[in-house]
Symmetry: C2
Subunit: 250 residues, 2 copies
Amino acid sequence: MPRLKLTVAYVGTAFAGWQIQAKAPARPRTVQEELEKAVAALTGGHVRVHGAGRTDSGVHAEAQVAHLDLPTPSRPVDWLRAFNALLPQDLSVLAVEKVTEDFHARFSATGKHYAYALWLARCAVPPRLRPFVWECGPLDLPAMEEAALHLIGTHDFASFRNAGTDVETSVRTLRSIQREELSPLHHIWHFQGNGFLKQMVRNLMGLLVSVGRGKTAPAEVPGLLAAQDRTALPSATAPAKGLTLVRVLY
Amino acid sequence: MPRLKLTVAYVGTAFAGWQIQAKAPARPRTVQEELEKAVAALTGGHVRVHGAGRTDSGVHAEAQVAHLDLPTPSRPVDWLRAFNALLPQDLSVLAVEKVTEDFHARFSATGKHYAYALWLARCAVPPRLRPFVWECGPLDLPAMEEAALHLIGTHDFASFRNAGTDVETSVRTLRSIQREELSPLHHIWHFQGNGFLKQMVRNLMGLLVSVGRGKTAPAEVPGLLAAQDRTALPSATAPAKGLTLVRVLY
């Protein structure tokens, strides 16, 4: 059972996220399903594709990682070319590597890097960026950076987890939050950590934007973390379209 | 008649270019028409929007420029907000300025800056870039840069002009051609000049890629220029989707 590691990029706009869903009769379109359809076309049978993690509906990926076990015997295939010939326009396989069976896309991952893109005005966003940024308006950047310092480190992030998962612990290590200024109005906030809870990055960004709008004080952040309760958070979850999974670390 | 200068950005994919077309019954969608529809909704009458130049079907713009004369009297309007509330998702007005009547989007322009994006592989292009790059495969960059040196300067570019216009002269000054490497596979070729003929940038890029593929020698370029005949050019016009109008100079 040769194992393949895939590096996958997608524009999340028209996907109902990573994970295959079972809602009949109208099954929403997912990245995992499109990949499994391509594998089935190439191998002649159903093969499960395991992702490093789920991305939500509308979230993009620059380099998501997945693995799959090929049936044996399997004919020799130029996998990179074959995948890309079959996949839709909003989904590409960027790299295919043969790996040993001790590699697991999810369990071998040591961390993830997400990027959240903001547009610091409420109109006049360049149309090329529109599917990838949150048009949040002007922000108080020093206040946001002060608030971010309270979030970095190892904490119970239960306040930043939306309902719908049953992971055992909500303790995570947020290694860094860094702001990159691509232009005066186009800012990227980078989040790196050992793992992220459901919608955690979008809740972190939502809180930081609330701080940037003067609605939440940086000094309130430690209390919101300590509450360990999503309902304690005064801010909404940031929109999916601004978020991109940049890299999975191994 | 107050005159407004508009700076306009668009994703060209779903536009039949800049210029309004008259083909009934199915009139193709154009940038100029979308802008004139918005102006009509805001002023209550038809007003012509004059562009700095036409862009072809499928070509993008980061900062196209246009002007229009408002009917008088006209009510005070927050033009930037009003335009963007009315325009479709793939077209934005980035700036609106009041200018004097001696400003003309086309005749006042002193030059243009175009960018052409190449992806140096034939598959595995990131889907976010797909609408904006030509997937041309690997290229011999030193040969291309040698060829580009022959193209810079003041020449009769008739060999690089496609049929369909009746401009008086085909002499233009190409001020610079510069390659920017955003990543090993994602290169931007910048073309700056005092003006460009119909599909001239795409024909220049087409020839440079032909050189990069080893099909045309750099030393052939002066002869192709001297021929002053599009049929002398051995290369095809590069695809529209890789081209972006970056800036109009005044």
